[in-house]
Amino acid sequence: MPQVSMIPEPCRVLEAAPQNGHDVHFVIEVPKKVFAPDPGQFVMVSLPGIGEAPFCVSALPGEGTAEGTFELLIRRTGRLTNLLTRFKAGDTMYVRGPYGRRVEWEQFEGSSLILMAGGLGLAPLRSFVRRALFRRDAFRRIDVLVGARSPEELLFRDELLTWKARRDDVHVRLTVDAAREGWGGRIGVITTLLEGFNADVEDSYAFLCGPPVMYRHCLRKLLAMGLYENHLWLTLERRMRCGIGLCGNCQISGHYLCQEGPLFSYRELRTMREAV
């Protein structure tokens, strides 16, 4: 096996769009090395002298993005992201990757897709929606179900509205846990979007990305609706230090998330201890 370097490449930020007080959406130039991530894969972003952390790619090069760019959504939670979320167009991030499992998308073709995101989970899931819309003819019905704590926390609001406008193409439903007056939409946790859901679940694939509590409830619901275990895909999150199967931080049972995930089918996950 060839030596894989942990040295990152400088990548220029082309656009930085704050989504709210703590989330910033970035359009970034791709690294010079071959860079063709699949939905669910991640990159390691760093600032030398500060640190490094994994981020799922939120839009892939060539799938609704400008030539030679990819996109990330970064939330301010720690030292590194405190700096990164202050970045403007023209600043340089240091990137290596993509890492993680590649899933054969041909297996999903001809089926319907249920794409569910809770909170920050929309950042990775957005690349799935983009992929699905980019190859729209390959799929039957597409449902996008998005939940957030509040309307202010709803990410990519303009893009959600654009998807929503494509009524023939894609069915978008949104909900928030709680809202102040003036929110005309639905209020309730994300599982309520599955009530009365009438998709052809036997021939559907579901992709979920959100916090652990969302997985526990949505899994139960989707399985009860009749979705096959191996048609249910979850994107997991773990502390990662290397991205290349070495540092051990991301291990779940005997599995390395950075190698065999972060995208797993429920059938793979169901017997893994402490998975969600």
């Binding site: 096996m1 060839p2 030596q3 894989v4 370097s5 942990m6 040295i7 990152p8 400088p10 760093s46 030398p48 002298g49 500060i50 640190g51 490094e52 952390a53 939330r75 939670t77 720690g78 992201t81 340089t92 240091y94 916090p211 652990p212 999150e237 773990r238 502390r239 230090r241 290397c242 290349i244 199967g245 070495l246 540092c247 051990g248 931080n249 291990q251 779940i252 049972s253 005997g254 390395y256 190698q259 201890r273 402490e274």
Partner: protein, 346 residues
């Protein structure tokens, strides 16, 4: 090569070290205070071939506690330039017991099959190892015989038995023979020496009582059957989460990554440092969610990794029975006792 056992007068050890030093950084067990450690040795260094065991396992030589991944420096254009460290001299390691030879095998198989990194496997492959047989258990907590590592000789190039009057050296590889021939003419052991050696080998097991009633390959099944949390709770209840067991383990490999830079941030290095699954926060992610928040989960994970996940993934059990984790645990949580609790004592 199987029956190539030669006598090696211990006065020739310095000549062996001198010969190895031409091609290798030579490392061996050296006494420091009340403990023994792996240290650089030269001809004349008091190499302690009668050492019981070292506090840290020899993995510290191949995957050091603290290691530079790369250096960075801000260039004139404002961007960082990166530089990886140069490849260092290969290591010759002298006097490695069976448990630690097994640990090196596990280390190699982990790096070979799990990842795309060649740094540690490269170091192991370029190294020269002289194994050393044990006649008595080195710690009250060790159970190398049960874990099958007492008699392990691979990946040594030369393997030594100290029979008192001389060392008997078994040639394990062409490189081992080459080095040995450079140091001394190959000399067959005398009939008396061979008789003495075989007699001691025959009775060696008496010094190593059996602690487990199952073979190490059965460990994965035994652990899976021990679903009940009683065993884990009772042991984890004493755990202080200090992580010593991780640090002294010959098969632990987890590391953290951190940057160190000058105050102006223009110059520095990205480092990897040892960490472990028993250290608080190991499984915590940004935002504070912890996937293994309790000590019970953390302890069970460590034991499962050694006894189940590693053999399933790399084909080798992750516990060598060296006893270090138990001997260095401040509350004496015993991996051997846990194995006895899940699989039964003899």
């Amino acid at each position: 090569m199987d029956n190539e056992v030669y006598r090696f007068p211990r006065e020739r050890l310095d000549a062996l070290i001198e010969r190895l030093a031409r091609d290798y950084r030579v490392v061996g067990p050296v006494k420091q205070g009340a403990t023994w450690r792996w240290a650089d040795i030269r001809p004349g260094t008091a190499i302690a071939l009668d050492y019981p065991t070292t506090m840290l396992p020899p993995r510290q030589v191949f995957a050091p506690q603290r290691e530079v991944l790369f250096r960075f420096r801000r260039g004139a254009d404002g961007h960082f330039d990166f530089e990886e460290p140069a490849v260092e001299r290969p290591v010759a390691l002298l006097g490695v017991h069976g448990c630690d030879l097994t640990g090196l095998r596990v280390l190699h198989s982990f790096h070979e099959s799990s990842c795309r990194d060649r740094v540690v496997p490269g170091r192991l492959e370029r190294s020269f190892v002289m194994g050393l047989a044990c006649w008595v258990p080195c710690l009250a907590e060790s159970f190398c015989r049960d874990m099958g590592s007492l008699e392990a000789e691979s990946p040594a190039s030369l393997y030594a038995w100290d029979i008192g009057s001389v060392l008997l050296l078994k040639v394990m590889s062409a490189r081992g023979r080459e080095i040995l021939q450079d140091v001394t003419p190959l000399e067959a052991a005398t009939a008396e020496e061979l008789v003495n050696w075989r007699r001691r080998l025959r009775v060696r097991h008496e010094a190593f009582p059996a602690h487990l009633k199952f073979a190490p390959e059965k460990l994965a099944v035994a652990l899976e059957a021990a679903e009940s949390d009683i065993i884990w709770d009772a042991n984890a209840d004493r755990c202080l989460s200090c992580g010593r067991c991780n640090l002294v383990c010959p098969t632990c490999t987890c590391f953290d990554v951190c940057d160190q830079a000058t105050l102006d941030g223009s110059d520095g290095a990205r480092l990897r440092t040892w960490t472990g699954c028993q250290v608080p926060g190991f499984s915590r992610i940004a935002g504070g969610h912890d996937f293994r928040p309790t000590r019970t989960q953390q302890l069970r994970y460590r034991i499962f990794r050694k006894g189940k996940y590693m053999p399933e993934r790399y084909g080798l059990v992750g516990c060598t029975g060296c006893g270090r984790c138990t001997s260095h645990c401040p509350t004496h949580i015993s991996i051997r006792d846990i194995f006895r609790q899940v699989g039964g004592a003899p």
